[in-house]
């Protein structure tokens, strides 16, 4: 266990990731509740409980927030930075509505702490193209009506953007099954899935290089 990452689950239990693992083996590890929030050696020094500042790159620009260590990345984005594209729906990693890219990888922002992304590149839906200059993927979402109420759309689209980036030049080989896999963590109550799959397949086929598909 060498990750210096604070996790929300670990923190909320008053124990770091290492002691969470330990508690699996030792049922009585609850006694460790006095342990510092981060207990492995490579972790940064203990912070909090008051607000502490954290800096990262947000949609290509530097951002700094002053938040308590318990504040999730999602809350920091939405409440402190006013970036409201990512949504809070389940608050426990089950729905994908809060999906953002952290160093290019799709992550559930409700399951990370703001302090987890210190120094990282965070991209939200707002960073994937704006209304007046949409990316090819965004335009395809609109064309295929891959959205209804739109509340899942930010997360859904971010997952799809990550998929297109991941497959790179092999877009033409993308199958519906792979798209469904990629969005299997994104719930949509309105039932947009078939249109989402159609939109992604079209973009993948039309633009073999995913770069063009996900950046404006």
């Amino acid at each position: 266990m060498t990750s210096p990452t604070l996790t929300r689950r670990g923190l909320l239990r008053g124990a770091g990731t290492a002691s969470v693992l330990a508690s699996c083996a030792k049922p009585n590890a609850d006694d460790a509740s006095n342990a510092p929030a981060v207990s492995d050696a490579t972790a940064p020094a203990e912070i909090g409980p008051g607000a502490v500042s954290v800096a990262f790159n947000l949609n290509g620009k530097p951002a700094t927030v002053q938040v308590e260590p318990r504040v999730t990345l999602l809350d920091a984005l939405r409440i402190d930075l006013g970036v409201t594209g990512p949504k809070l729906v389940c608050d426990r990693g089950a729905c994908g509505a809060c999906t953002v890219l952290v160093d290019g990888r799709p992550r559930n922002a409700c399951m990370m702490l703001a302090h987890d992304v210190a120094g990282a590149n965070v991209t939200t839906i707002e960073g994937l193209g704006a209304g007046d200059s949409p990316s090819a993927l965004q335009a395809a979402f609109v064309r295929h009506d891959a959205l209804q109420c739109g509340f899942c759309t930010s997360g859904m689209l971010t997952s799809c953007a990550a998929l297109l980036q991941r497959i790179g030049p092999n877009g033409a080989k993308l199958t519906a099954q792979t798209v469904r896999e990629a969005i299997s963590g994104n719930l949509c109550r309105c039932g947009t899935y078939p249109h989402v799959v159609a939109a992604v397949l079209e973009v993948a086929g039309a633009t073999p290089l995913s770069k063009a598909a996900v950046t404006p």
């Binding site: 839906i125 609109v142 109420c149 739109g150 969005i183 719930l187 109550r189």
Partner: protein, 778 residues
């Protein structure tokens, strides 16, 4: 009224029908109108905002000085409050206001009921403060299980009589309760002929019990409201609602304010499905709490439900336990149906089973449908996408299939023979061919005969709904400016169907202008009265009003052109690009608008009461009966019980299709919701503690991308002659038959029925007798 000859009907069954069209209505669009924009798959006009995170939902509203509220909820299913105090909550860090929502001595009737609330500078500080509120409860006897609650001697949920709560999401009806006995409250019967007598004489009788689960709406945006007092007697509310004007009226009533002093804003809403009518949710007084905290704190307050709250106190689809008896005669006809159902809407009312058993197969001469509400100590049920209907459809359709097997009858032919709706009969027939029904049935029968491990099965079920579109309710204002801008305004909310886009299409159609040139303003009360999005009435209530208002504006433009050209207005020709010409002269739309004597033309119109219902009325009432049929295919692993819906063919009527693209989206949504209901979703209450065990989205399963069948949608344009655009609703009809068709398909695959939703692997194995030591459940 003036009688007009309209071309009505569908497919190859178009006929001339005389319809009494109210004075002032433009000639309704019918089967021979050729439209350019209406019906086309026009992408949503606000799509770019939703794909870029720029759409601002209630949940996204941020106001200067805004506070966050949190509500303390009762952890017990039934309790008396022995003592209660805000304790240190008022002084807790960041807290600006706190209030009690229950008093000493109050009897609390479900786990999740409002107890107290606070507003603080951040959401986590509000939640922290709740922990400082001191409440002592005396636990009281409770009951959360429907069948136990219906028994004599069960703990009483309510001590006094209960009023039926009606919302715009309820199917319009005159239902009044007939008094209660214990926790059981009977609803009015639906009856024709004498079912008991006919069943006694029937050659074949099938009798079985069917049950359905409680489903929660699980809209992704939870219920929520932001309230800002703009003056002592004036407020603005941003609300995640499907009924802007019911929010306004409720707040006006609570705070005794004139409605004109309340602004309600719902620019975007993250789903509703029937649970979001009003400032409050069915089981929590959100509107009152937010507004009162805002008043106390002197600052705007945002109150959004957590996912847990959303599951327990904002409504649900009630469950049902239906005892069905159905009989057939020696000649292969269905003769009688008797359904007796109980279901729970928790502490609320409305656990009916819809119209399917009574009103689809109307050639069955003897039918009796009885239904009762059973009170339980659980959050109130409320309207959910086609209230009652999926429950009712499931039981009656599966029962028909089971009887058909005894009668050695073809279940599809049996349905067609007993249905009188010409559109639905056509859908059954066309659909069967398209779906490959006969071949699929033969294939599943062969696999059953060989007892193979992997089976497929197919089933079919019907949908019924009424054209409840309302006359006079939506007032649409159209402004055509001297600068040739066209603005259409109405205070309707877009629940996700894309009503704004359809509004633009209708205006574009009438004026022969591009869709992009129409500005649509919706989602705010100040844009003028409108309907709630309930009963599948939005498109049919709003689009005729749009057409009528735009036609009036166009009439003024034609008069102006006539004047300029020196000809009579009716001699002016309106060209395909909106150019007016006559008397050898012509003016483009922009040039004509420039000649307006005033700033702009402003017209306001509504739609008339429905004036037609060709080819089939709903329940003998003067409104169209909306028809639909769905075929489903499932794949079942008989060793593991794993079941998947693999294919759905949906044949639907929604009058004139207004936008093919968004219409398909709605139908996809209905099917996916129905699939989820059939196979995955179930609210689980702990009988011993009376609390919901899966009030989240990891253990309350809703369909994900991999649970979705291949969907084919066939839209049947039906020209009804009901209003000036011919629109009727589709949101609800499209979810009614899905679970029933899937259940019938599972029966076809296995040869034994699973009579309980959701159809889980465990139930499949039990039905196959593959659970050691367990009998076959009924």
């Amino acid at each position: 009224m003036s009688p007009k000859l309209l071309t009505l009907g569908f497919a190859d069954q178009l006929t001339s029908v005389e319809v009494d069209v109210p004075a002032g209505e433009p000639p309704p669009w019918d089967g021979v109108s050729s439209l350019e924009v209406v019906g086309q798959p026009v992408p949503r006009i606000d799509g770019h905002l939703k794909v870029s995170g720029q759409a601002v939902y209630t949940f996204d509203v941020r106001l200067p000085g805004m506070l966050w509220a949190a509500v303390l909820r009762c952890p017990l299913p039934c309790a008396r409050i022995k003592s209660i105090s805000l304790g240190r909550a008022e002084k807790a860090p960041g807290v600006k206001a706190a209030m009690l929502l229950a008093q000493r001595g109050d009897r609390i009737v479900f786990a999740g009921q409002d107890i107290a609330a606070v507003a603080a500078e951040r959401p986590e500080l509000a939640r922290d403060a709740l922990a400082a509120i001191e409440v002592e409860y005396e636990a009281l006897p409770f009951v959360v299980d429907t069948r136990s609650a219906a028994k004599p001697g069960a703990p009483m949920v309510h001590e006094a009589a209960v009023r039926t709560r009606k919302t715009e999401g309820d199917e319009p009806s005159a239902a009044t309760a007939a008094g209660s006995e214990g926790n059981v409250r009977k609803m009015p019967d639906s009856r024709r002929g004498d079912a008991s007598k006919a069943l006694k004489k029937a050659a074949f009788v099938h009798e079985a019990s069917y049950s359905t689960q409680v489903q929660t709406h699980s809209a992704l945006e939870t219920h929520g409201i932001v309230v800002r007092w703009d003056a002592k007697d004036k407020l603005t509310a941003w609300c995640s609602t499907q009924g802007i004007f019911s929010v306004r009226d409720e707040l006006a009533e609570i705070f005794t304010l004139p409605v004109a002093n309340i602004r309600v804003i719902t620019d975007f809403i993250g789903g509703g499905f029937g649970a979001k009518f009003g400032a409050s949710a069915p089981g929590t007084r959100l509107g009152f709490i937010a507004a009162e905290l805002a008043r106390k704190a002197g600052a705007p307050v945002k109150l959004m439900c957590t996912r847990h709250e959303e599951h327990v106190c904002t409504g649900n689809r009630p469950d049902s336990y239906q005892d069905v008896r159905i009989g057939g005669d020696a000649a292969g006809r269905l003769v009688a149906v008797h359904v007796r159902s109980i279901g729970t809407a928790g502490i609320g009312t409305g656990a009916g089973i819809g119209r399917n058993a009574f009103s689809v197969y109307t050639k069955i001469p003897h039918v009796l449908v009885e239904a009762s509400d059973v009170f339980t100590n659980a959050g109130p049920g409320t309207a959910m996408r086609a209230p009652g209907h999926p429950q009712g459809a499931f039981a009656i359709e599966l029962a028909i299939d089971e009887l058909a097997r005894t009668m050695k009858a073809d279940s599809l032919r049996l349905r067609i023979a007993h249905d009188e709706h010409p559109v639905r009969k056509w859908q059954f027939q066309q659909g069967a061919e398209r779906f490959g029904w006969t071949e699929a049935r033969a294939k599943s029968a062969a696999a059953r005969g060989k007892a193979t491990r992997l089976r497929t099965g197919v089933g079919v079920a019907a949908s019924i709904w009424g054209d409840f579109g309302r006359g006079g309710a939506a007032q649409v204002t159209v402004t055509i400016g001297r600068d040739a801008t066209v603005e259409v305004k109405n205070g309707v909310q877009d629940i996700g169907t894309g009503i704004g886009t359809v509004i633009a299409q209708v205006a574009a159609e009438v004026l022969s202008r591009p869709v992009e040139s129409i500005t649509v303003r919706i989602g705010r009360s100040e844009h003028g009265p409108s309907v709630g999005s309930g009963g599948s009435t939005t498109t049919s209530s709003v689009t005729p009003a749009v057409r009528n208002a735009v036609e009036q504006a166009k009439t003024q433009l034609l008069a102006l052109a006539g004047e300029l050209f020196g000809v009579a207005p009716r001699e002016v020709v309106w060209g395909p690009d909106g150019t007016a010409s006559g008397g050898g002269k012509s003016l483009t739309f922009a040039a004509l608008c420039k000649k307006l004597p005033g700033e702009a033309i402003v017209t306001t119109a509504t739609r008339a009461k429905t004036f037609g219902h060709h080819p089939m009325s709903f329940m003998g009432q003067p409104m169209q009966q909306i028809a639909g049929v769905q075929f489903a295919e499932v794949e079942v692993d008989t060793w593991t019980g794993l079941v998947r819906a693999t294919r759905v063919l949906a044949m639907h009527d929604c009058g004139r299709v207004m936008n093919e693209l968004t219409c398909r989206s709605q139908i996809n949504g209905g099917i996916i919701l129905g699939t989820s209901y059939a196979l995955l979703e179930e609210r689980v209450l702990d009988r011993d503690f009376g609390r919901m065990l899966n009030a989240n989205l990891d253990f309350y399963k809703i369909a994900g991308a991999k649970d979705v069948p291949e969907i084919e949608v066939v839209l049947t344009d039906v020209y009804v002659g009901n209003n000036s655009t011919g629109a009727v609703g589709i949101g609800e009809p499209s979810t009614i038959p899905t679970a029933a068709a899937i259940a019938c398909a599972v029966y076809d695959a296995l040869g034994v029925p699973v009579r309980s939703l959701p159809i889980t692997p465990a139930k499949i194995l039990a039905a196959l007798g593959r659970v050691p030591g367990a009998g076959v459940p009924t």
